[in-house]
């Protein structure tokens, strides 16, 4: 355990993340609407030791009730359209929707028309688009920091 912590400390020094220079925070809620799961892996990586988005005040929260931003992945399957709307409706205002990954952006979606309710744009108002299949953790981090900057009126 002690060794493990020391190893992590060393890793942290090696990665040398830039210091967090601004204040503010955004609470993020993620909804997977039928993604292939690679977008989820990359989103989860942004919270890992190499990117560590929490130190900028960007947190994934457990409930849409606590969220400012709804991060949506996947092409919106017929079965997820309802739960997606429910999650959005549960959010307090002001709120905004971010489309994470090409599927959520409606690009190059694979599947049968009858099983898909998307694109997301036609279901919810999309304010932020993060393209990629999947977008890299760095791309996700950059886009979210941009959003945080806009949200708090400072420029990066």
């Amino acid at each position: 355990m002690f060794l493990l912590l020391r190893q992590l400390q060393r890793l942290r020094r090696q990665i040398a993340l830039p210091p967090e220079e601004r204040r503010g925070s955004l609470a993020l809620r993620h909804v997977d609407t039928g993604s292939c799961n690679a977008c989820e892996h990359e989103l989860a990586a942004t919270a890992g030791p190499h990117y560590d988005l929490q130190r900028h005040g960007l947190n994934i929260v457990a409930s849409p009730r606590h969220a400012d931003v709804l991060l949506v992945t996947g092409p919106v399957t017929r079965r997820m359209a309802g739960p997606l709307r429910t999650a959005f409706d549960a959010m307090p205002e002001p709120r905004l929707v971010a489309a994470l990954g090409d599927c959520a952006l409606g690009c190059g979606v694979l599947g049968s028309r009858a099983e898909l309710a998307g694109p997301l744009e036609e279901i919810l108002p999309v304010a932020l688009r993060i393209p990629g299949c999947p977008p890299s953790p760095q791309a996700i981090a950059d886009a979210l920091l941009e959003l945080l900057a806009l949200h708090h009126g400072w420029t990066r």
């Binding site: 493990l4 912590l5 892996h41 890992g48 079965r79 694979l110």
Partner: protein, 488 residues
């Protein structure tokens, strides 16, 4: 071309399926005969042909694939195989939902892919003093795929768990029909990000088997390398996830960092962190020159050292180990009965691994890793990942011993190659995934993908029985199954 000399059985090259048409009255007998012949049940699904809907059941192993096909007649009823093959439960329910086939003797035939608002139609009735239900999902608290769990509990004790998945059902199999193989392969690949290589190689093998193609040694090595790279980051991530499941943050972070390194290595070798588009039909998409292979090996050796060191720390973290032992037990009998696959099956002593019978890949005389103790609990499933991690790193060291050159498939000279149905069986990080493809005029007529997660999901529900509700996330993570390639 050394591989198939040893495997050219009278059934044709491995992967080519022999189709046997069976009357409904003979359906069960034919299944029993297949089992008696030592073949394993590998999926049941509907096919839509010119003559209407038919039921198909695959029994096989590498070397022989038997596809039983049954025309259910105008009433679309075939006898259920459940009594002989308990593992066919989900398959029959799916074939009913998607193809309208009924299975006599399978009662009640609950919906699986279709979601009904009528709770009684898909949940098991659980009664008794103080029993109640806890509903969770489809949206969960973390970054997790969608699925709905209905726990029947007394207090916090789980009596029974009904699963409702298929929120990620995109109709990928139907969408692949009528497409060129390269296009259909993308459907198999995008079914699941974390099993992208396994699913695409399974598809490629199936297609190549149907067409009488055999990969040259270089192609076999390229694909095997990709499959092991996929296993590497998955197993690292799985250990991290189990640590997260018990709130052991140092372990979560250490293995997440190792996984990130593995993903970066994937990018440097194949141009994509999840190895997307690195598999093609009949050809290789992975080329690695001498110096890149050498650098990859160095990185892998460092990864091996660091993961071994981190794992040792976890082994001696008493508070972690205490939480893993004896939780979510699956017995060997249960695993065999329900057709469990992968690390979850090996963790309870079922030494089954598709890599042992993969003449189209470069596994040589592979033998499955053994768990330190086959107790079938969360601890054993995590241990299994660690043991296999070591094995994978060893395999990769050998596979990347020299440059990977351009490669392709060669036509088999064998006059009697199977026909137009092929089967691919690949050991994905979660176990054997099976892809069946039938070809027509150079296009895909039907593609069916039965992923390891599909095979193992019912086991998760079994493992949860009798446990406390707060243990479920940990039990679930110890299997770490995909929703995406189960749902398709």
């Amino acid at each position: 071309m050394s591989g198939h000399a040893t495997t050219s059985l009278h059934h044709g090259p491995p992967g080519a399926a022999r189709r046997i048409d069976v009357e409904p009255a003979r359906w069960r007998d034919a299944a029993r005969e297949a089992l008696d012949a030592g073949l394993r049940f590998s999926g049941l699904f509907g096919i839509e042909g010119a003559g209407g809907v038919m039921a198909a059941a695959l029994f096989g192993r590498s070397g022989e694939e038997r596809l039983l096909v049954c025309d259910p007649g105008p009433a679309t009823i075939v006898p259920s195989l459940l009594g002989i093959v308990p593992a066919a439960d989900w398959d029959e329910r799916e074939a009913h939902d998607l193809y309208g086939i009924s299975f006599s003797g399978h009662e009640p035939l609950r919906p699986l892919v279709h979601h009904s608002d009528d709770l009684d139609s898909w949940t098991v009735e659980v009664g008794g003093e103080d029993t109640h239900q806890v509903a969770v999902g489809p949206i969960h608290a973390g970054i997790i795929e969608p699925g709905h769990f209905r726990f029947h509990v007394v207090g916090e004790r789980i009596l029974h768990l009904d699963l409702r998945l298929f929120y990620s059902h995109r109709g990928l199999e139907r969408a692949a029909e009528g497409r060129e193989p390269a296009d259909a392969l993308r459907h198999a690949q995008r079914a699941c990000g974390a099993c992208a290589v396994a699913n695409s190689v399974a598809f490629a093998h199936a297609w190549e088997s149907a067409g009488g193609l055999w990969p040259d040694a270089e192609l076999a090595r390229a694909r095997t390398t990709l499959l092991e790279l996929e296993r590497l980051y998955n197993h690292l991530g799985d250990i991290s996830a189990v640590c997260a499941g018990v709130g052991f943050a140092p372990g979560t972070a250490a293995f997440a960092a190792l996984k990130e390194r593995a993903l970066r290595l994937n990018r440097s070798l194949a141009g994509h962190r999840f190895l997307f588009d690195s598999v093609a039909v009949g050809a290789s998409r992975l080329q690695v020159d001498e110096s890149r292979a050498r650098r990859a090996r160095e990185e892998l050796r460092e990864l091996a050292d660091e993961s071994a060191r981190a794992w040792r720390e976890l082994r001696f973290a008493g508070s972690l180990q205490e939480r893993l032992a004896g939780v979510g037990v699956v017995s060997r009998e249960q695993a065999l009965r329900h057709g469990a696959v992968g690390p979850a099956a090996r963790a309870c002593g079922v030494a089954r691994d598709a890599r042992t019978l993969s003449p189209r890949l470069a596994y040589g005389d592979f033998s499955p890793a053994r768990p330190p103790s086959p107790t079938g609990d969360v601890a054993a499933r995590v241990d299994m990942r660690a043991v296999e991690l070591e094995q994978t790193l060893g395999l990769l060291d050998g596979l990347l011993g020299r440059a990977i050159e351009p490669a392709r498939c060669e036509p088999l000279d064998s006059a009697a190659h199977g026909g137009d149905v092929g089967v691919g069986r690949i050991e994905s990080p979660r176990g054997e995934s099976v892809c069946v493809v039938s070809a027509h005029d150079g296009r895909v007529a039907r593609m069916h993908l039965r992923s390891a997660s599909y095979a193992n999901w019912p086991l998760v529900a079994q493992a949860a029985r009798g446990e406390l509700l707060p243990e479920f996330p940990l039990i679930n993570k110890s299997f770490e199954l995909c929703y995406a390639c189960c749902d398709r």
